[in-house]
Symmetry: C2
Subunit: 126 residues, 2 copies
Amino acid sequence: MSTDPRAGEAGQYVDSEILQDLLSIRSSIDNIDAALVHLLAERFKATQRVGVLKAKHRLPPADPGREKAQIARLKQLAQDAQLDPDFAEKFLNFIIEEVIRHHQAISETSGGEPDPNAPFDWADHQ
Amino acid sequence: MSTDPRAGEAGQYVDSEILQDLLSIRSSIDNIDAALVHLLAERFKATQRVGVLKAKHRLPPADPGREKAQIARLKQLAQDAQLDPDFAEKFLNFIIEEVIRHHQAISETSGGEPDPNAPFDWADHQ
């Protein structure tokens, strides 16, 4: 029913009005995704700075108190924004896994070995 | 060295100046996380609308062409923003999994069974 390339497969199944609704929502999703990617890039720049700071000063890395506070705060924010709080927690954990991977790379590159007396493992995401 | 509650464990290990640097970066991370949560909430509102639209019009759900374009676009955006493009792809897939879960719930709630002639499974994330 449509040859609009933005329609994807949906163009074969619906009339023009419904398709316009769909394309309009998809366009919003694309805008949001662009914003998410840029914010994530900025977040990794920030955690990169934390990683360098900690490697330089041989700081103990993970901070359970900070992490707990972050999760509680994000879950509350999610609830206020009508986002599933459990998903917000899963999302934070997903990001943290990536940050840990980055920080391991920083630690290896800088040749900074973890302080054996440090109480936690050498990965900071905070 | 610090009793600032925001310092977490780090307060025990570094002097005040370094701690201030750390707290400043953490504060930026917290701001970014709040923005991410709100954008994610908005994204799920948009995909919820897509889910309802598709359930209502018994549209085929997943759209491989659209998905491929989304991934290529996000990877390019990530590259421009100096974010690992593979991470951007992983991130999109992580979100899509959650959207699929939501859409299955919509489909079950609305009693709308997938059209057996639809070429894809009943989960739209686009």
